[in-house]
C-alpha cells in the first residue's frame, strides 16, 4: 500500500547522493587541483553536513508518520532477470533512520576533524574523495531496500576501507594491511552471497519487504535451511564486523589515518554486521541455532579481544581490540534478540569510540609533530613514548576520560545504559536457555577487562612522567580547534547519549526501544522480564565490575616504572602471549596462508601453470603448429611434377566420388 509520502521522504535519494557528489567533485579536484584544499574542505565537509540535515528532515517526516511498515521508494528497475526482479529501491524505517543519523552525524564530525588532522597531507583531496565515497556506500548499505542493494553498499564500504587503510600506500606495511582487510572480508562476503542465493532459492525474492513477511511461512522454525541462511549471513558479519574468526584484519587496519579508523573501523562500517543481523531479525528469530551462534561468538569475541587489548602498546591497537570487543557486545545483544539494546549500544559506541579514536588521533598528531620537529624516528603511537600528556593536552585528556568512563560502563554515561541493557537481556534469556548465563558471564568478564585496559591506556598516555624525550617535550601542544571541536561535540553526545534509551528501571521511557519497536517486534523472541530485584542486582554487578576494573588498574599499574619503547625489554610469559595476540595471526599464517602459498607455488605454479598450461597447452600448441608446418613445407617441394601427381590424385578422388 503506497503511503502518501512527505517531500523529505520522496527525496530520500538526496541523502546518499550528496556524499557521492562530494566524492566525485573531490576526486576531480584530486586530479585537477590537488592544492585547492579550501575547496576540498568545503565540499567534503559541506556535503556531510547537508546529508545530515537531509537525513534529519527525513527522520522527522518519518517520525510524524511512524508507520509500522518501512517506507520504500523505488527508483528504477535494476536487475530484471527472469524471476529475479530487483529494483534500485531505498527504504526508510526506524532502524535505518537511526543508522543514517549516526552515519551522517558522526561522519560529519569526523570529516571536520579530518580537516585539521590531514591538513599537511599531499593526498588531501584524494582522502576526502574516499571518505565521501565511503559515506555514500554506507548510506546505500543502511538504506537499501533489498539484499542486492545492501550488498552494493556492503562491497562499496569494503572497497573504501581498503583504499583508506592503504591510504599511505607507499609503505608496504600499509598496503599489506589494506590487502589483508580486503581478502579477509572476501571470506565474509562469500557467506553473504551464499545466504542471499539461499534466500532467493526459497522465497523467490530478495526485497526485504517481500522476504521477511514470507519468512515464517517459507522456513520451518529451526529448520536446516533457515539455520544455514543465518549462519552464512553471520559469516558475512564476522568478516565485516571483525568477529571471531575473521577479526584479524581490524587491528591491522589501524595503519590508515586515524580519522578513518574512527569513522570506518569503529563507528560505522564495522557495525554493518550488527545492522545486518538486526535487519534480518525475522530470519534469526526462526533459527535458535543461528541466534545462539551470534550471541556466543559475540560474547567470546568480547572477552577474547579484551584480553589482547590488555597488553598492547600501540594506542590505536588497544582501541582496535576494544572495538572488536564492543562489537562482540553488540552481537551478544542482537543474538539474544535484544535488537534495540544492540542498536542502542551501536549508537552509543559510535559516539564514545569515535571520541576515543579522534582523541588518540589528536595525541598522535601532537606526538608526530613533536618528533617531526626534532627529526626523531620514534613510534608516535607507542604508549611507552607518551605519559603525562594531560599537562600538554588538557582538552583531549578530559574528553577521553569521559569516553573511557562511558566505555567502562560507569553511570550515567552512554555506555553504561547500553551495555547494561545487553547484559540484562542476556541474563534474562538465561532463564530460557542456560547457555546465555555463560554468555552473560563472559560479557561481565569482558566488562571488567574493558574497564582495566581503558584505564591502563589513559594512565600510560596522560599520566605519570613524560617519556617523549626532553627536546620533544617542548613541542607538545593541544590540537587546533578544528580538531578539538568535534571532540567536544562527541563528548557531549557521549554524556547525553544514554538519554536516548533510559530503561523504565531508572524511570526512563526507553524511547529508542519504542521507536524501534515496529522493526524489532516482528523479530523479538520473547524473553521473560526480570524482577526489579534481579534487575537492580544486575546493574549493581555491572557497575561494580567496571569500578573494580578501574580501581584495579589504578592499583596495579605504575606509569612511573615504564621506559620508552626502544629501551623496553620484551614481554615474557602470559604477557607475551597477550602482546602477541594469542598468536592467532601466526596460527592463521601456518594453517591457511602458508598451505595456500605452498599449494600455489608448488602445485598450481610449478605443475599446473608451468607444466600443464605453459608446457602442454601453450608450448604444445606451438610445437603442434610447427610440426604441421614442417609437414606442410615438406609437401611444398617446388617440384611441379609432384604437384601434378597430387593434382591428379585430387582429380581421381573427385571423379571417384562422382562414379562411386
Amino acid at each position: 500500500m503506497p503511503l502518501p509520502l512527505l517531500p523529505p521522504l520522496t527525496l530520500l535519494w538526496v541523502v546518499p547522493a550528496l556524499p557521492l557528489a562530494g566524492s566525485v567533485v573531490n576526486g576531480a579536484l584530486a586530479l585537477a587541483a590537488p592544492r585547492a584544499k579550501r575547496a576540498v574542505s568545503l565540499v567534503g565537509v559541506g556535503v556531510l553536513v547537508l546529508a545530515f540535515a537531509a537525513a534529519a528532515l527525513a527522520v522527522v517526516a518519518l517520525a510524524q508518520l511512524h508507520p509500522s511498515a518501512p517506507l520504500v521508494v523505488r527508483y528504477w528497475e535494476w536487475l530484471p532477470v527472469g524471476d529475479l526482479q530487483v529494483a534500485f529501491a531505498l527504504q526508510l524505517d526506524q532502524l535505518s533512520a537511526v543508522m543514517i543519523l549516526v552515519v551522517t552525524g558522526v561522519g560529519a564530525l569526523i570529516h571536520v576533524f579530518s580537516v585539521g588532522y590531514m591538513r599537511g597531507d599531499p593526498g588531501y583531496a584524494r582522502y576526502f574523495a574516499y571518505l565521501n565515497l565511503f559515506v555514500f556506500f554506507m548510506l546505500t548499505l543502511v538504506l537499501g531496500a533489498s539484499f542486492p542493494v545492501m550488498f552494493v553498499g556492503w562491497e562499496g564500504v569494503g572497497l573504501c576501507s581498503y583504499l583508506l587503510i592503504g591510504f599511505w600506500f607507499t609503505e608496504k606495511i600499509n598496503a599489506d594491511a589494506g590487502k589483508k582487510a580486503f581478502v579477509v572480508n572476501r571470506i565474509g562476503d562469500f557467506g553473504f552471497l551464499v545466504a542471499m542465493l539461499l534466500i532467493f532459492r526459497h522465497t523467490g525474492s530478495l526485497d526485504f519487504g517481500a522476504v521477511f513477511p514470507k519468512a515464517s511461512a517459507a522456513f520451518p522454525a529451526g529448520g536446516p535451511v533457515v539455520t544455514a541462511i543465518t549462519l552464512f549471513l553471520f559469516l558475512g558479519c564476522t568478516g565485516k564486523s571483525a568477529q571471531i574468526p575473521l577479526y584479524t584484519w581490524l587491528p591491522d587496519a589501524m595503519q590508515g589515518p586515524t580519522p578513518v579508523s574512527a569513522l570506518i573501523h569503529a563507528a560505522t562500517m564495522v557495525t554493518a554486521g550488527v545492522y545486518l543481523v538486526a535487519r534480518c531479525g525475522p530470519l534469526f528469530a526462526l533459527s535458535p541455532v543461528g541466534s545462539a551462534t551470534v550471541a556466543g561468538v559475540g560474547a567470546l569475541t568480547a572477552l577474547f579481544a579484551a584480553t589482547i587489548a590488555l597488553k598492547q602498546w600501540d594506542i590505536k591497537r588497544v582501541l582496535a581490540y576494544s572495538t572488536v570487543s564492543q562489537l562482540g557486545y553488540m552481537f551478544l545483544g542482537v543474538g539474544t534478540g535484544a535488537y534495540a539494546a544492540g542498536i542502542f549500544h551501536l549508537t552509543t559506541h559510535a559516539f564514545f569510540k569515535a571520541l576515543l579514536f579522534l582523541g588518540s588521533g589528536s595525541v598522535i598528531h601532537a606526538m608526530h609533530r613533536a618528533y617531526h620537529a626534532t627529526h626523531a624516528h620514534e613510534d608516535a603511537q607507542d604508549m611507552r613514548n607518551m605519559g603525562g600528556l594531560a599537562r600538554y593536552m588538557p582538552w583531549t585528556a578530559a574528553l577521553m576520560w569521559i569516553a573511557t568512563l562511558a566505555i567502562a560502563g560507569i553511570p550515567p554515561l552512554a555506555g553504561f545504559f547500553s551495555k547494561d541493557e545487553i547484559l540484562g537481556a542476556a541474563f534474562a534469556r538465561g532463564a530460557v536457555r542456560p547457555a546465555w548465563y555463560v554468555f552473560w558471564g563472559m560479557g561481565l568478564a569482558a566488562a571488567l577487562l574493558t574497564a582495566f585496559y581503558m584505564t591502563r591506556l589513559m594512565l600510560y598516555t596522560f599520566h605519570g612522567p613524560n617519556r617523549t624525550g626532553d627536546r620533544e617535550r617542548e613541542q607538545l601542544h593541544e590540537a587546533p580547534p578544528v580538531m578539538t571541536g568535534p571532540l567536544v561535540a562527541l563528548g557531549v553526545l557521549t554524556v547525553l547519549g544514554g538519554a536516548l534509551n533510559i530503561p523504565p528501571l531508572f524511570g526512563g521511557g526507553a524511547r529508542l526501544e519504542h521507536w524501534l519497536a515496529p522493526v524489532t517486534d516482528v523479530a523479538l523472541t520473547p524473553a521473560p522480564d526480570a524482577s526489579p530485584a534481579t534487575a537492580w542486582a544486575l546493574v549493581a554487578s555491572a557497575v561494580l565490575v567496571a569500578a573494580l576494573g578501574m580501581v584495579g588498574a589504578f592499583q596495579l599499574l605504575r606509569p612511573e616504572a615504564l621506559v620508552p619503547a626502544r629501551l623496553a625489554p620484551p614481554a615474557r610469559g602470559l604477557g607475551r602471549l597477550l602482546w602477541k595476540k594469542w598468536y592467532v595471526d601466526e596460527l592463521y599464517d601456518a594453517i591457511v596462508v602458508r598451505p595456500v602459498l605452498w599449494l600455489s607455488r608448488e602445485v598450481l605454479w610449478k605443475i599446473v601453470d608451468k607444466r600443464l598450461v605453459d608446457g602442454l597447452l601453450v608450448n604444445g600448441t606451438a610445437a603442434a603448429s610447427r610440426a604441421l608446418g614442417w609437414v606442410g613445407s615438406r609437401l611444398q617441394t617446388g617440384e611441379v611434377g609432384v604437384y601434378v601427381v597430387l593434382f591428379v590424385v585430387g582429380v581421381l578422388a573427385v571423379v571417384g566420388a562422382v562414379v562411386r
Binding site: 617441394t637 617446388g638 617440384e639 611441379v640 611434377g641 601427381v645 591428379v648
Partner: protein, 98 residues
C-alpha cells in the same frame, strides 16, 4: 551409334594425356599433353552433340579459342622462363619451393 566407342576413345586419349603430363619433364611436351587432353574432351563433346544437339559443337568452338589463347600465353611464358634459366626442364624450375 558411335557414342559409346567415341567416349571410350576420348577416355583413352585423356588418360594418355595425363600419363604424358606425369611422365615428362619437358615443359613444352607437357604443354602438348595438355592439348591432347583438351582434344579428348572435344571428342566427348562432339560425340554427345551428335545426339543432344549442336550446342556441344559450339562448345568445342569455344574450347578451341581458349586453347589457342592458352597456347599463345603458355608458350610466351616458356620463352620467358627459358630466357632466365636456359632450360625448360621442370626439374630445374623449382622456384615455387617455399
Amino acid at each position: 551409334m558411335l557414342l559409346g566407342p567415341a567416349l571410350a576413345v576420348s577416355a583413352a586419349l585423356f588418360a594418355l594425356g595425363v600419363l604424358g603430363v606425369l611422365l615428362r619433364r619437358n615443359a613444352i611436351v607437357i604443354f602438348m599433353c595438355v592439348e591432347l587432353m583438351l582434344n579428348a574432351a572435344n571428342l566427348a563433346f562432339v560425340a554427345f552433340a551428335q545426339q543432344l544437339g549442336v550446342a556441344g559443337q559450339i562448345f568445342v568452338f569455344f574450347v578451341m579459342a581458349v586453347a589457342a589463347a592458352e597456347a599463345a600465353v603458355g608458350l610466351a611464358i616458356i620463352l620467358a622462363v627459358y630466357r632466365h634459366r636456359h632450360t625448360v626442364d621442370l626439374q630445374h624450375i623449382n622456384l615455387l619451393k617455399g
